[in-house]
């Protein structure tokens, strides 16, 4: 069993090393393709999908 555990452990470490090398993370990011170049000149022409986020305005 400990041989199996060792193999499993090295698999976990391998996945971790590969993930770190490729820059993986658990962040939620929305990918959008073909954003027009005009956004640089007119930033308001592009609206993020996160624009409708409901903001917390609280405090205790």
């Amino acid at each position: 069993m400990s041989k199996g555990y060792l193999a499993y452990g090295f698999m976990v470490l391998g996945l971790l090393a590969y993930g770190q090398f490729r820059g993986y993370s658990f962040s939620t990011v929305n990918e959008v393709k073909n954003v027009p170049r005009s956004v640089r000149d007119n930033p308001g022409s592009y609206r993020s999908v996160y624009g409708s986020y409901h903001h917390y305005t609280g405090g205790k």
Partner: protein, 433 residues
């Protein structure tokens, strides 16, 4: 070249029961002290030429059939043995009877040994040649320590076949069991005589194979006192393996920290002026270059807020391909004082990783939002390329820890089941309710 000793042919003598006249077979010849008539259950004195009746017992309500019939021959540890006797012994705990079976085996050269069976669990038992030492909790024998399991008074409740001692129904012995799986060291005290024996747990399927018995043995029920844990020594080994893997994880972390560039590719301070009517709040940063392999970036936002929040819609846009990564981050910080004392909530900085961003020329589109009454909010944005992600290490550590915890839990559970039947249960339940 020597030839191995040939087991002798069974030496039997034909006799008849003086009580019922049934034929008796004496298999161990002059070694037998008692012989039990299978027909009328008379216990006879095998040393007496007339087979004096020592005791008779009524077996109608307690008839027991040996799983290994008397006269069956088999090979135990390379030696031929014949089953010559069978007895059931019983202990009573809290008004409940617990019975096990003992099979007496005989070889003319090697003498006697026993097989014991309880709920499908088997032990190969032989008398010890040395004298163990024992205190209340432990016994020592041949350099091995055994832990006390149980002390109980056992009585003989059924007998068949022949025995090298004077058997009696309801004969009592005080039994002490000490275990070190797969071994069990037992002592039996009768009158002024103490007998020590050593048992080793064996599987029923091995017994069936040794004696070439038809069918299959009864399935074991529960965990027996000297049954080796299927996980056994693995619990210790797995924690050693875990330490090795955790060390390897640390090495990966150090190597990752060493090779990660952590280049700050962009940093800028901004002020959000939300009281300018009609002005588009979004803007874009200058183009910055992400070098090297496909890797992550970390976007850090720090805002000078005080009981305020600011929300930033971010888009990391590749200036050449038009590929965009949208994400939103809120930075909020509140504090105050109430009946519970001072409190704070949130913090003035925030960090997010954008995963797997290919190299290229990028810019950020930033669209801040906040409450109008907050007034100007100062904030800064920092973009860092190729940063180690600690949450991945945490997940890896949990993934490494999980099997070790699982094995340990299963090992504890097995041992808890083993010792639940002992005088020293690992978990004590209060049955007073």
């Amino acid at each position: 070249m020597s030839t191995p000793p040939v087991p002798p042919k069974p030496m039997t003598r034909a006799l008849n029961c003086p009580q019922c006249g049934a034929a008796l077979v004496l298999r161990s010849m002059d070694r037998a002290v008692s012989i039990v008539c299978e027909n009328c259950h008379s216990i006879l004195d095998a040393k007496d030429p007339n087979l004096r009746i020592v005791q008779r017992f009524e077996a109608a309500l307690g008839e027991d059939r040996p799983l290994i019939p008397l006269g069956t021959r088999g090979k135990i540890r390379g030696t031929d043995y014949e089953v010559i006797g069978f007895q059931r012994r019983t202990i009573t705990e809290d008004g409940i009877d617990y019975s096990w079976h003992e099979y007496l085996l005989f070889n003319p050269f090697k003498g006697f040994r026993y097989l014991t069976e309880y709920n499908g669990h088997w032990n190969d038992v032989s008398q010890v040649t040395g004298l163990p030492t024992a205190d209340g909790m432990h016994a020592q024998y041949l350099g091995k320590s055994y832990k006390h399991f149980q002390t109980a008074t056992a009585r003989t409740t059924f007998v068949l076949g022949e025995f090298p001692w004077q058997v009696r129904i309801n004969e009592k012995a005080l039994c002490y069991d000490y275990v070190s799986a797969p071994f069990m060291l037992s002592s039996e005290v009768m009158a002024n005589e103490t007998t020590w024996s050593l048992g080793e747990y064996v599987s029923g399927s091995d017994i069936w194979k040794d004696f070439k018995l038809p069918g299959s043995p009864p399935a074991p029920i529960g965990v027996y006192e000297d049954q080796p844990s299927p996980l056994g020594a693995k619990a210790g080994a797995i924690w050693l393996t875990f330490v090795l893997l955790a060390s390897a994880l640390l090495v990966v972390f150090i190597a990752d920290a060493a090779i990660s560039s952590r280049d700050v590719v962009f940093r800028q301070n901004y002020a959000f002026l939300q009281n300018t009517p009609g002005q588009e709040p979004s803007f874009v940063t200058p183009v910055f270059e992400l070098k090297g392999r496909t890797s992550n970036i970390e976007v850090e936002t720090t805002a000078s807020i005080n009981n305020q929040w600011i929300y930033l819609n971010y888009a990391l846009i590749n200036d050449e391909s038009g590929q965009a990564y949208d994400f939103g981050r809120e930075v909020s910080y509140y504090h105050g004082y109430d009946s519970d004392g001072s409190w704070t909530e949130g913090k003035r900085d925030d960090s997010v990783y954008v995963p797997s961003v290919p190299p290229g020329r990028y810019y950020l589109r930033v669209e801040p939002e906040s409450e109008k009454q907050f007034g100007p909010i100062q904030y800064s944005v920092t973009v860092t390329r190729d940063v180690p992600v600690m949450s991945l290490y945490l997940v890896a550590l949990i993934a490494l820890l999980f099997p070790a915890l699982l094995i340990s839990w299963r090992t504890f559970n097995f041992e808890q089941m083993r010792w639940a039947e002992s005088d020293h249960p690992l978990v004590k339940f209060n049955n007073s309710d």
